[in-house]
């Protein structure tokens, strides 16, 4: 076992992990942070998307020990009841969640996009979400919400 030190949503943690433990297992099973979802476990669906030092990654195929000393942001750190992030408010406003399973990952992919490109085009939003699958196929509303959060008239 190895000791992993990381920050999640601003809070420091120290956990014991194996050489092949994933970041997703650490978040969900060790820390009880269940916003990132277990979907495909092959890096295809994006339900586990989180930011590591501001960069979008798929937590299911991120070896936990490669995150040692880094900062992780999950949907729980994006906003809270009473203090929601503009993206979360826009998702609510635009009915951008159906079953909700993909939503945490969609929000984190959107956050990564807007951090780098605050005024994206619709095509840039679609490209930024290309690694996040919505099984309900509610993509149009999700793009609408992100455009709205970016200050565009969707």
């Amino acid at each position: 076992m190895y000791t992993l030190e990381l920050k999640v949503n601003g809070r420091a943690y120290k956990v014991e992990v194996k050489a092949t433990t994933t970041l997703l297992q650490v978040l969900r099973e060790k820390l009880g942070i269940t916003g990132p979802k277990v979907g495909c476990e092959t890096g295809d669906c994006g339900a586990c998307s989180v930011l590591v030092n501001g960069k979008l990654v798929k937590a299911c195929i991120t070896n936990a020990l490669t995150v040692h000393g880094k900062e992780v942001l999950t949907v729980e750190g994006l906003g809270r009841p009473g203090a929601f992030h503009p993206l979360q408010l826009a998702f609510h406003e635009h009915y951008a969640a159906q079953c909700g399973f993909c939503t945490p990952g969609m929000l984190m992919a959107a956050k990564a996009l807007l951090d780098e490109n605050p005024k994206p085009t619709r095509d840039e939003v679609r490209e930024a979400l290309s690694g996040n699958l919505c099984r309900c196929t509610g993509y149009v509303k999700i793009v609408d919400a992100i455009m709205a959060a970016a200050g565009e008239k969707a």
Partner: protein, 298 residues
């Protein structure tokens, strides 16, 4: 899956020491986009992981007539690089079609090559540009042209104690013609059914916009430095040597385009898999090479 060991190399030297010590037991971990998928699928239980993501192999160097990319450089950085955009537009175009943003943020150029999937996305532009890889071990370094690097699915000439430290890409002349296209089952985040690139240097371009019927035109009087590459249609990414030889030194017209495309398809040895049948891949290879050449002459 328990009992595996994890080592974080803080320098290339340390990585090479670890590979020398553990040999074939060691799996080199960079972005993990291939290794961790295999771990999750219970296809791999590595005895030793040597993590090289933070050992100083993340760089893009402009050396004038070549660009040198560190083995652990993620695709997102290659895509963002002004040097790559300006000097290696073919590589930039192909990298934009690799995986999805989160995959490109961590997946590395060296990892993509060493994993040696017949569908390796970066292999297509790199083979077409005549790239080489530098392999380092405790006992020294060697530079291997990419066309002699792949041995079969998942197999390369890399020895267990060697690390792919650099990809060396010659900068093509400014007037070199190129085209790239990837055929997948969907637009984004997909593996190749077949992807291809065509690169050549043209001399004596026929006048454009003349009344000459397109199918009678000689588009270029002489083509040199010809390289035609396809992936996912052979045990390794394929430099189509016979098709490239047809183009080399030749005048390019519609008849030759058809012949080159047919020859390239004959050089493939595809298999049936979940993404496409062998029959489809061969047809698609011919159509792809034809359309790439037509795109250049259009």
């Amino acid at each position: 899956m328990s009992g595996g060991e994890f080592y974080r190399a803080s320098s290339v030297q340390e990585a090479l020491d670890l590979l020398a010590k553990f040999g074939a037991k060691a799996h080199v971990l960079a972005g993990g986009t291939d290794i961790m998928v295999k771990v999750n699928r219970r296809q791999l239980a590595p005895e030793v992981l040597v993590y090289i993501g933070e050992c100083g192999l993340n760089y893009i160097k402009d050396m004038g007539d070549k660009v040198v990319i560190g083995g652990a450089t993620p695709f997102a950085e290659i895509l963002r690089s002004p040097v790559v955009k300006q000097k290696l537009p073919l590589l930039a175009e192909a990298v934009a079609h690799i995986g999805t943003p989160a995959i490109r943020n961590v997946g590395t150029i060296g990892g993509n090559l060493v994993t040696a999937s017949p569908a390796a996305d970066s292999s297509v532009p790199l083979l077409a540009l005549g790239a080489s890889v530098k392999l380092a071990s405790k006992s020294g370094e060697r530079v291997v042209p990419l066309e002699s690097f792949f041995k079969g699915p998942g197999e390369t000439v890399r020895k267990p104690d060697e690390l792919l430290v650099e990809v060396i890409i010659p900068v093509p002349d400014k007037d070199v013609k190129f085209a790239y296209h990837k055929i997948g089952r969907r637009k984004a985040g997909t593996l190749s059914v077949v992807a291809g690139a065509v690169v050549f240097k043209a001399e004596g371009a026929a006048p454009r916009g003349t009344a000459i019927a397109r199918d009678q035109a000689c588009y270029f009087e002489k083509c040199t430095q010809a390289r035609i590459v396809l992936n996912a249609v052979a045990p390794t990414p394929l430099l189509a040597k016979k098709a490239s030889a047809l183009l080399e030194g030749s005048a390019l017209d519609a008849e030759l385009i058809a012949k080159i495309a047919k020859t390239a398809a004959e050089e493939t040895s595809p298999i049936d898999d979940v993404r496409a049948s062998a029959w489809y891949r061969r047809q698609a290879s011919e159509g792809l090479v034809k359309s790439l050449l037509e795109r250049i002459v259009a």
